[in-house]
């Protein structure tokens, strides 16, 4: 039996300890805000924050996060009003929206580490997150907006 802490709540798991965290979150814990896009750490759709770092849940196993604090989009902010979320809404970033929870988690992790990133630093930090709809210009501007105050 494994115990993991997600959004400050304890979950137990007695199945395969190697199960990717992504599928544990989505299919076992019912936290569907974290998305599957590639399964190979290539797209960032599954990004969650473990302790203070952005992590790809698709290549992280459940057993890897034992004793750590996992934050998903559902737990990023109690009312959904994290500066990044607000900036995203202000600039109407999403198109289909599917990549956006991963983008938001990546951006939130970036701002924790670097509260005032330059545009180049934003591009570098967000380059692991694909948006097939092509919302990049707005993502870049929204991260900048979140960092300067919404």
């Amino acid at each position: 039996m494994i115990k993991v802490k997600i959004n400050s709540q304890e979950h137990s798991w007695d199945g395969d300890p190697d199960l990717p965290l992504l599928w544990f979150l989505r299919d076992e814990a019912g936290l569907t805000g974290t998305k599957y896009g590639c399964g190979q750490a290539l797209c960032g759709a599954c990004t969650v924050i473990v302790d203070k770092q952005a992590v790809r849940a698709c290549i992280t196993s459940v057993s890897d996060v034992v004793g750590r604090e996992v934050t998903t989009i559902e737990g990023l902010h109690p009312t959904g009003d994290h500066a990044v979320q607000k900036a995203w809404r202000q600039l109407n970033v999403p198109q289909c929206g599917f990549c956006q929870t991963g983008q938001i988690m990546q951006a939130a992790a970036l701002l924790m580490e670097n509260p005032k990133p330059t545009h180049d630093q934003i591009r570098e930090a967000m380059a692991g997150n694909i948006c097939r709809c092509g919302t990049y210009q707005r993502i870049e501007n929204a991260v900048h907006l979140a960092s300067t105050g919404v």
Partner: protein, 771 residues
């Protein structure tokens, strides 16, 4: 509770009454919305009415102009408006209801949007495809809103005993200004429900100068908050009690099937519950499943791990020799010989012979995969002769029909709930994944989620075609183009539906080949044969991608050959402002629209070129190593022109700036048009730079974003500027979702030529610029 919050109950009130007006398939249906807007209003036929004609009524099930189907008002004043088209990122789930709210004077903050299940008899055509939603539904949605407003006004006038002409709906209330009385929509709902639906001819539409929402762009999409907090529901987010999770190993070669398999190792994987063969259809299989071996588990991760442990022997079938290098050579061979003539003006052969100079360009665009961020996925719950589906499908009505046919049950027994689509791009016009889930749920006797992995999506999809476009342009001594021969060779989408389809269908020929708008005396378009070796499908912008790439690259080549500015050359070729006549083209495809309302108007094409040149600073001096390229293309009956600036930094290609101008006629939400154009630029740059699907031994050689890369933020333009042409008073709405894509690649290629003198004729650019 508003009845529309429960689609199952809503269906119970349905009565199928069709009224077919010979000229117009507008269907009216009796639908009583108890506690909602209209109770048992009489069903009546209305002849067609529209300020302009569209092809909407030629679509299966046409349009439905009936407020009782689309609008309901609860007693607390909440207005519920049905969105019957699929939301894949274009904003349609917001913009169509916004049109209704505008006309009925509803306050947008009190409107909720209800997604319609698949039911075209009730809602009209739902096939969200072809950049059609706004152009087909702007007028019907206005009429629906105006009908609802009229019924509310009539009810208020009756209540007050005053003539209806003295009252007016304004922002969620009806007002009688003479007496100062006012009453809210909620309070009027029950009475309004008793009014008869006014005739479409008698409706008074709002004067556009009074619009509060239309054309303003101040309203965010209805799902904005849900998306940013993770509660927006996509295909894989549906949870049902007892639901299983499955993945399927499908034949790696199109037309292949399972010879034998061994699931013993898969069954040992923790969480795997079952391994079974699933039914496939022989090629060409339309939208039917490919078949294979399914692994069913308690979660998707276990199912994937189980699938990795399967041992399967495949019978590869007739396409096991498909190989991309050889196929390209075959297409090039065909393009160098005469083919089926599909447009002919003058005598191109003689004109080319007599030309002072002939410029030849042969362009190649490979297969491409949609790779929407959400791979195909569907949830199905089949019990006895009833089926319920939850899926991100572009065509809810078509999915319902296909599920019914595939399961052999009546359509009335099938409910298709449309979730949000995590991108569509044409992939989700095909409902094969929903059919797989339905069949598997039936076998299992349990609800099931069938998830495609990214590898499945890349290897088993419906690819963008592969094509060779060969253009020969003859110039006279003065540098005028007098002859134009364009041969286009590509396997057709028709091959997915019928064996032996070797020619392009009219709808493909009409996407940038026979509709070429240049003013040239001798023109011939030909379509040599090409047989498909894999499933070909619609990809955002479809055949416009290779055609615009070829035609607009050739414009750049001609500018260079005649030592002229690209834009000058482009405008000279477009020629005088006129309506293009295409008398020699049989079955001209005009995106399904009547040519009278949507002709090829070169004045509009010239205008977007001038606009983008003006705003985008065409001709500005750029630093060394930079270059500007321009391209313009009409598609989906809209006009787009794009300028790309490239820069080479130590040999590395970057795009500092893109400017794009669109004329899409009358429009609803310019903010989303801008978003679509921004996205189109990224998609265009993406396939121009990177995207290529290749085959060897009949199998796709790529599988994920490592070997099939798409554009990322660090390669995206520093700035993309979008300019929208304000519509003329009578300009009907035209497409937005797709037409932004085609000009991007040729503008980029022309810019690269300007910067480096290197002419790229085959996409993707890949390593071609490395010395």
């Amino acid at each position: 509770m508003n009845i529309l919050t429960n689609p199952k109950r809503l269906r119970g009130f349905e009565r199928h009454i069709k009224v077919d007006n010979v000229s117009r398939r507008s269907i009216l249906k009796g639908l009583g919305l108890a506690g909602g807007f209209v109770l048992a209003a009489p069903v009546m036929s209305r002849p067609g009415f529209a300020a302009y004609q569209t092809g909407a009524d030629k679509m299966p099930h046409g349009t439905v102009v009936d407020p009782r189907v689309f609008v309901s008002i609860a007693s607390d004043g909440t207005v519920t408006i049905v969105a019957h088209r699929a939301e894949m990122g274009t904003g349609v789930r917001t913009s169509l209801p916004m049109i209704v709210a505008e006309e009925m004077e509803a306050d947008w903050s009190r409107v909720r949007v209800q997604q319609a299940p698949g039911d075209e008899a009730k809602f009209g055509n739902q096939d969200t495809d072809g950049s059609r939603s706004t152009r087909h539904y702007l007028m019907p949605m206005r009429q629906i809103g105006a009908s609802a407003r009229t019924m509310l006004e009539t009810a208020a006038a009756k209540r007050w005993g005053v003539p209806a002409t003295e009252v007016k709906a304004v922002n969620h209330e009806v007002i009688h200004s003479a007496s100062g009385r006012r009453i809210g929509f909620g309070e009027l709902a029950a009475d309004a429900a008793k009014q008869s639906v006014p005739s479409v001819e008698g409706l008074k539409l709002k004067d556009p100068k009074d619009f509060r929402y239309l054309g303003k762009g101040q309203i965010g999409i209805v799902d904005l908050r849900d998306i940013t907090v993770g509660t927006a529901r996509y295909g894989a987010d549906v949870r049902l009690p007892g639901m299983k999770y499955a993945v399927i190993a499908r034949p790696p070669v199109t037309g292949g099937k399972v010879a034998s398999f061994d699931g013993a190792e898969a069954m040992k994987v923790s969480g795997v519950e079952k391994v079974m063969e699933v039914k496939g259809w022989p090629w060409p299989s339309k939208f039917q499943p490919l078949g294979g071996v399914a692994v069913i588990a308690r979660n998707t991760g276990a199912a994937i791990k189980g699938r990795n442990a399967l041992k399967i022997v495949w019978d590869d079938g007739p396409n096991s020799k498909y190989e991309s290098v050889a196929y390209r050579a075959q297409l090039e061979g065909a393009a160098r010989k005469p083919g089926l003539v599909v447009r002919k003006e003058g005598d191109v052969e003689a004109a080319l012979k007599g030309a002072d100079k002939v410029i030849v360009g042969e362009y190649y665009v490979p297969h491409h995969a949609h790779v929407s961020m959400e791979p195909p996925v569907a949830v199905a719950d089949v019990k006895g002769d009833r089926a319920e589906i939850w899926a991100p499908v572009q065509s809810a009505g078509g999915t319902r029909e296909d599920v019914a046919k595939t399961l052999g049950i009546p359509q009335e027994n099938v409910t298709v709930n449309v979730t949000l689509l995590g991108g569509g791009f044409g992939r989700k016009s095909k409902c094969d994944f929903a059919l797989e889930a339905a069949l598997l749920s039936k076998e299992l006797g349990a609800p099931v989620n069938v998830q495609w992995t990214r590898e499945d999506d890349v290897r088993n999809g419906f690819l963008h075609t592969v094509s060779v476009e060969r253009i020969e342009a003859g110039l006279d001594k003065s540098g005028r183009v007098t002859a134009w021969r364009h041969r286009s060779v590509a396997p057709s989408i028709a091959s997915t539906f019928a064996a032996g389809a070797v020619h392009q269908a009219p709808f493909e020929l009409g996407m940038g080949l026979v509709d070429m708008p240049f003013e040239i005396a001798n023109v011939q378009c030909e379509n040599p044969e090409a047989a498909a070796r894999t499933r070909i499908g619609w990809f955002r912008s479809v055949s416009n991608i290779p055609r615009a790439f070829a035609v607009q690259s050739m414009v750049g080549e001609l500018a260079h050959a005649t030592n002229r500015d690209q834009k000058t050359m482009l405008l000279e070729l477009i020629g005088s402002p006129r309506i293009v006549k295409l008398d020699s083209v049989k079955d001209l495809w005009n995106y399904g629209e009547p040519y009278d309302s949507y002709p090829i108007d070169t004045a509009r094409l010239r205008k977007v070129v001038e606009l983008v040149a003006d705003k985008g600073g065409w001709g500005r001096s750029v630093p060394k190593g930079h270059g500007l390229g321009i391209a313009a293309h009409r598609s989906f009956v809209s006009y787009i022109a794009t300028i790309v600036e490239v820069a080479f930094d130590n040999g590395k290609l970057t795009v500092p700036r893109v400017d794009t101008a669109i004329d899409c006629g009358a429009y609803v939400n310019p903010e989303r048009i801008q978003a679509q154009m921004e996205g189109a630029v990224i998609m265009g740059l993406s396939f121009a730079k990177h995207g290529e699907i290749t085959f060897k031994d009949g199998k796709v050689q790529q599988g994920n974003f490592d070997d099939f890369p798409v554009l990322r933020i660090d390669e995206s333009p520093a700035v993309t500027n979008v300019y929208i042409v304000p519509p003329g008073p009578d300009t009907p709405p035209s497409g937005v979702g797709e037409p932004g894509v085609p000009p991007v690649a040729p503008a980029l290629i022309n810019a690269i030529f300007a910067a480096t003198g290197k002419r790229i004729r085959a996409l993707p650019i890949g390593k071609q610029l490395e010395a």
